[in-house]
């Protein structure tokens, strides 16, 4: 069973989470449900710091033994930090998707885009629907 989705953040339909720091920046990762679907994460491709991405652009790639999945930017902005620990320990995403397994930190281009994201409750509903 997936861990509960924290209510202190927002979610995309592509299974990313966004934690708004309230200072124009946000932390982004993938959900526990996403890591469960991927299993066995063995490689994470991180973007360069300073890269600018639009909402829905691929921002990172997460690979399991069997497959590659793009991580899409849930909101547009500039990459200001990446989780370097994932280079050595990609399994941090499996172990703690909502914490130690964060992927990038962004400076938001338009905080208004946060309004397009889902609440934890709405995201849970989406996951339930996908299972059927």
């Amino acid at each position: 069973m997936s861990k509960p989705n924290p209510t202190d953040r927002l979610y995309s339909r592509d299974h990313e989470w966004v934690k708004d720091n309230g200072d124009g920046t946000a932390i982004i990762g993938i959900t526990d449900h996403a890591q469960e679907m991927l299993t066995d994460i063995v490689f994470v491709e991180l973007p360069e710091i300073g890269k600018k991405v639009a909402k829905s652009d691929p921002v990172a790639a997460v690979e399991s033994v069997k497959s590659v999945s793009d991580v899409y930017a849930p909101v547009g902005g500039e990459i200001i930090d990446v989780n370097k620990k994932l280079e050595e320990s990609p399994e941090l995403i499996n172990q703690d998707a909502f914490g130690e397994g964060w992927i990038v930190k962004m400076r938001l281009a338009d905080a208004g885009e946060l309004k397009t994201l889902l609440s934890a409750a709405d995201y849970e509903q989406l996951v339930k629907e996908e299972k059927h």
């Binding site: 066995d40 063995v42 490689f43 491709e45 790639a61 690979e63 033994v65 069997k66 590659v68 280079e87």
Partner: protein, 363 residues
């Protein structure tokens, strides 16, 4: 999708099911790495009921097989297994299959799942055109198959059979029983480990599966899916039909020259020899990523800026803890230690050509 007799067991185990060539097969029960490591360290049990089996019987059974297969089977003994290739007229590989000599004039061919119907039609066509005195029977639907693989396979299976497994040599089989049911026990597999391929009737194969799981619990046996089967075979440098080789590829371009016996006639030989004489342009080689990233099927391979080939299989190797793969490359760049790059999404990532296999078990 077609289902094997074990399908309901996979669902009960909460396995993740995928479509493999029209078959609903378990890709993993827990996760690929755990199942892979269980197989290398103890034992893994695989549902392989999707593979095909064809019986060939009669006074001219051997004559037919000699003509349709690349390997010389004249010296095959009863109880021996031989890997061989089935070619088309152009010398391309339709299937790589194993030949079981059950008795004089009696054989079983074990085919890959996806090309089985193609094999069946092609062999029948040749049989009819030559009028060989033998019969062909597709027994795939009634025959079940389990692969028990890993260093503790022998001790597990020995608890359930009267056959003396100690004396059963690699690539040999015996017709015996497992938990009282008639079965063919073959010391062979597709993982690079010691282990057995067990053939028994489809309607009782679930019974054997259950008894093996119970008998193997104390030895660390785990059910393993096609995901682990793929990483295991790739570490062992074994090819996957339909992925590393297709009908446009001949045995001379992949590490299969050794199963071609040019001293006899077989279908596709003329074209194969013509290919050999005109020079082989590409070769299937092992690659290892030296830069960060995992090569995957279909990624392009470069030498400096020149495109020299394509990745056919690529994965993360749980045993070696690095990314490995197989690639078709221009012969001129196929020597071990040649530095190459693989285009992974938008990045050129360093890799090198290495000798196969990536992994060899200690004997």
């Amino acid at each position: 999708m077609k289902k094997t007799p074990l399908y309901e067991k996979h669902i009960a185990q909460k396995a993740k099911i995928i479509d493999f060539g029209g078959w609903a097969m378990p890709v993993q029960y827990t996760n690929v790495i755990d199942e892979h490591k269980a197989t290398r360290g103890a034992a893994g049990l695989f549902d392989i009921c999707h593979m095909g089996e064809i019986e060939v019987e009669g006074p001219q059974a051997l004559d037919l097989l000699q003509l349709v297969l690349t390997r010389n089977l004249a010296d095959q003994t009863i109880g021996q297994v031989k890997l061989s290739a089935l070619l088309n007229e152009e010398g391309g590989i339709i299937d790589d299959l194993t030949v079981y000599k059950l008795d004089e004039n009696s054989y079983m061919l074990v085919t890959n799942a996806t090309p089985k119907d193609r094999d069946w039609q092609w062999i029948n066509l040749i049989w009819r055109s030559k009028g060989f005195d033998c019969s062909l029977k597709d027994i795939s639907d009634t025959m079940g198959k389990l692969d028990l693989q890993g260093p503790r396979s022998e001790e597990i299976l020995q608890r359930l059979t009267e056959a003396n497994l100690k004396t059963l040599r690699f690539y040999h089989f015996c017709e015996s029983q497992v938990v009282g049911f008639p079965a063919i026990i073959s010391r062979s597999g597709y993982t690079g480990e010691d282990g057995f391929e067990i053939y028994a009737a489809g309607n009782i194969i679930g019974n054997i599966w259950d008894k093996l799981m119970i008998a193997g619990a104390q030895s660390g046996l785990k059910p393993a899916g096609l995901g682990a089967r793929d990483t295991l075979r790739l570490e062992a440098g074994m090819m996957l039909n339909g992925q590393d080789m297709t009908e446009s590829v001949s045995p001379l371009e992949v590490p299969y020259s050794w199963i071609v016996d040019a001293n006899k006639e077989f279908v596709g030989k003329t074209a194969l020899m013509a290919r050999k004489n005109s020079g082989i342009g590409n070769k299937l080689v092992g690659i290892e990523m030296t830069g960060r990233g995992i090569a995957r099927h279909g990624y392009k391979v470069f030498h400096h800026l020149r495109e020299i080939g394509i990745v056919t299989s690529g994965t993360f190797s749980p045993t070696l803890n690095k990314a490995i793969g197989l690639a078709f490359v221009d012969m001129a760049y196929s020597a071990p230690d040649t530095e190459i790059t693989v285009a992974i999404r938008n990045t050129m990532t360093e890799a090198k050509i290495v000798k196969l296999p990536f992994y060899k078990r200690e004997k």
